[in-house]
């Protein structure tokens, strides 16, 4: 089984049954996972910030870094691979609270809200989420069956 790592600001859309997608250390970052159960296509993105307005250059070089640029692109790629409602589910992971007195807002919370807004505008509904808190999550996803495994420290669970 090939392990394919998704770094911060990256996304992958996979229809391969011989690879596992994984992304690490989701602190305030958010992973959005979209899966078409009929054609077995899985998309996963690792988003760092909600709004690309703060860094236009990066939004061009690494659009997945921001929710408002990366998520619509991943959704578009899913559609091109044939993903279609009502066969799709969407799951959200991450967005932990980072308590930093220098921050003007809670980035984790803002990322969750931004992702949900874009999904709403794309008429995609979240069917499960594991978000918030103060833990850093690692996510593994299997395109062959849409299985999602989350881990932190020594604990592992599925959504």
């Amino acid at each position: 089984m090939i392990r394919r790592t998704i770094g911060i600001g990256e996304w992958v859309v996979s229809d391969r049954s011989d690879e596992l997608l994984e992304t690490f250390a989701l602190g305030s970052c958010v992973a959005v996972l979209i899966y078409d159960v009929k054609i077995r296509v899985l998309g996963m993105i690792h988003i760092a910030l909600p709004d690309s307005a703060i860094d236009k250059a990066r939004s061009v070089s690494l659009p997945g870094y921001f929710a408002d640029t990366g998520l619509p692109l991943m959704i578009e790629e899913m559609k091109k691979k044939g993903a279609a409602k009502p066969n799709i589910w969407v799951k959200l992971v991450g967005g932990a609270s980072v308590m930093d007195p220098g921050l003007l807002f809670d980035i984790g919370r803002r990322n969750i809200v931004a992702a949900k807004r874009i999904l709403w505008r794309s008429s995609l509904g979240i069917t499960a989420e594991d978000t918030g808190g103060q833990i850093s999550r690692t996510v593994k996803a299997d395109p062959s069956d849409g299985g999602i495994t989350i881990s932190t420290g020594g604990e592992t669970w599925c959504i």
Binding site: F105, D106, R109, I112, V113, R117, R121
Partner: protein, 155 residues
């Protein structure tokens, strides 16, 4: 009449209700900020209120600029037909859900809650009760004020 209230818990429950409902329903982040009484004269173009009958007799009011309402409607409806006509309805429904969420948070999940229908408030005609809690929020750059007050007249 009103029992004695724990103001700290009231503020915490109200803050949670505002933030959670804005996030889950309007997909917009409301960040608490320090209450500035000097903003009393600010252009709060939209003012909506809902009265609770049980388990406490009180009024929850939201004040915001019209631009925040427009922003919420744009997020919820986009270019959908009917959005312009129903712009005023969105903040009323948000307030309705917020009031239920606040009371359930403060009194617990088993509490019997009764609310009247939300409404727009157009003037201060001396019927305002005593303020129990006043919370200010920064909603992605736009101000929002939530005020919980007692109700002066009840029948």
């Amino acid at each position: 009449m009103n029992e004695s209230l724990d103001t700290t818990r009231i503020e915490a429950s109200l803050s949670r209700a505002v933030r959670d409902v804005m996030a889950e329903m309007a997909f917009i982040d409301a960040e608490p900020r320090i209450h500035d009484p000097a903003e009393a004269g600010a252009s709060w173009e939209s003012r909506v209120a809902i009265d609770a009958l049980k388990p406490i007799s009180c009024r929850l009011e939201l004040r915001s600029p019209a631009s925040l309402i427009a922003r919420i409607v744009d997020i919820l409806f986009g270019d959908e037909a009917g959005a312009d006509r129903n712009q005023g309805d969105s903040i009323l429904e948000i307030l309705n859900v917020m009031a239920g969420s606040f009371l359930a948070d403060y009194y617990g999940p088993g509490a019997e809650i009764k609310l009247e229908l939300p409404q727009y408030v157009y003037s201060s005609d001396g019927e305002e009760g005593e303020a129990i809690a006043v919370l200010d929020f920064d909603v992605e750059g736009l101000p929002l004020r939530a005020t919980l007050s007692s109700i002066r007249y009840r029948y």
